[in-house]
């Protein structure tokens, strides 16, 4: 079922649904990532519309509230060229879907990502100042990529052999949009560890937006990146598996997934700006471990910790150890009443080899904090360096370069 068909059919019959919610729920949990994603998004929209209609009937909301205040989107068509941005084909004032599926996917998925950042973190667009979300589709010929240009999102159609069109996956679009968020916040330099953090943040929030749209808990989430853009015949589950880095694919044309999940396997390479898409597996796995240890929905606690770390604590040259330290510190600040959360974050970073194995002093200190009477809350001015992370960072990568580990074609 195409997402825009749902919108089109809502006209004139706002309470009738082509596919009943219970069936959508089953589809959302199905093994087919593309189907599950679309069904989940439709289900969420269905639920929000039902709730919204209930509020309307009681007079709690005015029809004007239907608009997502501050959301502005534009989609351009490059028509197979590399000229950006291309021709404008859909904007916020266009209530009707475009005839082009890629245009609507870019439009809708940008909207869902904007909703996520707005509703969960109170962020107003990538720059937190209402920046219009500009997307260009059909970039280049059989272009096997999606990227953030520094100004906008750009999507290729894929070669049809390994990749399908990049607009079809919500996690891909949320990944690219998060590069924009990073650009306007921590400005993580796109090289080596800071670059890998930049990539990891995009995967972390890319997966989180997908989970939010599907209503998935950390245990229900697949933690895969790019599952929906892989063409039939691709030997693998996705491009990256945040929970199990290095296991996403083993394809005769592309080789094996090279991502490490532990600092001892850090890949030293000159390719890909120092392996930013490879070594991102380490901090991404730390997030998964933290989110799973905390439990529930990833965006409620672990996601907030990572967001505040990105938006307020990190700077351009941050490395893994700095990120680990700041997430532990933020966890303490955000959840002072529950010291176990910071301890779980510290353990996650220890489990991927960025912090020392046994954060016993941290745990001890946190137990003491938990046992102590509550102190009056004061306005936070400066982050307090965490005890474990500050002294226990293990930042020395060990693995040698493997810049050409993928097979040639």
């Amino acid at each position: 079922m195409h997402p825009t068909r749902f919108d089109a059919n809502m006209k004139g019959c706002p309470c009738c649904f082509i596919v009943p919610p219970h069936m959508l729920q089953r589809l959302a949990m199905s093994g087919d990532p593309a189907l599950a994603e679309t069904a989940g998004r439709t289900l969420r929209l269905t639920q929000s519309l039902v709730a919204f209609r209930a509020q309307l009937s009681t007079g709690a909301l005015s029809p004007a509230a239907l608009k997502r205040q501050g959301l502005r989107r534009q989609v351009f068509d490059c028509a197979g060229t590399s000229d950006l941005p291309g021709d404008l084909v859909r904007s916020e004032t266009d209530t009707n879907p475009n005839r082009d599926r890629a245009v609507n996917e870019a439009f809708d998925n940008a909207g869902t990502t904007w909703d996520f950042y707005n509703k969960i973190f109170g962020r107003g667009s990538v720059d937190n100042n209402g920046k219009t979300l500009v997307s260009s589709v059909h970039y280049g010929e059989n272009y096997d990529n999606a990227f953030w240009s520094g100004q906008q999102m750009v999507y290729g159609d894929g070669d049809g052999v390994i990749f399908q069109r990049f607009t079809s996956a919500l996690d891909v679009i949320a990944h690219e949009l998060t590069h924009g968020v990073t650009q306007f916040t921590a400005q993580l330099a796109y090289q080596d560890q800071s670059g890998a953090l930049n990539e990891s943040m995009s995967d972390v929030f890319g997966s989180m937006v997908k989970q939010w749209a599907l209503g998935q808990t950390v245990d229900q989430a697949d933690w895969l990146i790019g599952a929906a853009i892989m063409a039939p015949g691709f030997k693998g589950r996705a491009l990256r598996d945040m929970a199990n880095p290095g296991t996403a694919y083993d394809d005769p044309r592309l080789g094996k997934d090279p991502q490490p999940g532990d600092m001892k396997d850090y890949v030293q390479t000159e390719a890909d700006n120092g392996g930013v898409h490879t070594n991102s597996g380490i901090p991404s796995r730390a997030f998964v471990l933290a989110a799973k240890a905390i439990g529930g929905n990833s965006w409620e606690k672990a996601g907030k910790i990572w967001y505040v770390t990105l938006a307020e604590r990190l700077t351009g040259t941050a490395d893994f150890a700095k990120c680990a330290a700041e997430t532990v510190s933020v966890a303490r600040d955000l959840f002072p009443e529950d010291s176990s959360i910071a301890a779980k974050v510290a353990k996650a970073w220890a489990d991927v080899g960025v912090l020392e194995e046994a954060p016993s002093t941290t745990l001890l200190a946190m137990r003491e904090m938990a046992a102590a009477p509550s102190l009056p809350k004061t306005k936070k001015k400066k982050p307090v360096p965490p005890r474990a992370a500050g002294k226990a960072a293990r930042g020395t990568p060990k693995k040698k370069a493997k810049s050409s580990r993928s097979k040639t074609r």
Binding site: F147, Q151, V172, Q191, G226, L239, D272, V276, S406, R409
Partner: protein, 86 residues
């Protein structure tokens, strides 16, 4: 005597690499390659944004071996395809 083109980066972060004999290059490819060599290296880090491709171009000829790193924005399309076997 050949040119080896390696593409890294992109959303997928997958490395693709291909090579071609210099004698098998089309005239327009030879011209583009000569221009690249005349211009010299461009640091990939000057590329704006994220998830762009980065190319490594290695030429092996009578002068020896020369390697350039070229950001996607400055890579001639008719040479970029060598990385993926085109």
């Amino acid at each position: 005597m050949k040119v080896i083109v390696e593409r890294s980066g992109g959303f997928a972060g997958i490395i693709r690499r291909g090579e071609k004999e210099l004698s098998a290059l089309l005239p327009e490819q030879q011209t583009a390659l000569q221009k690249l060599l005349d211009k010299g290296a461009s640091p990939a880090s000057t590329q704006m944004g994220a998830d762009r491709f980065t190319y490594k171009v290695e030429v092996q000829d009578v002068h020896g071996s020369r390697t350039l790193t070229v950001p996607e924005t400055l890579m001639p399309a008719n040479l970029a395809g060598i990385a993926t076997g085109l």
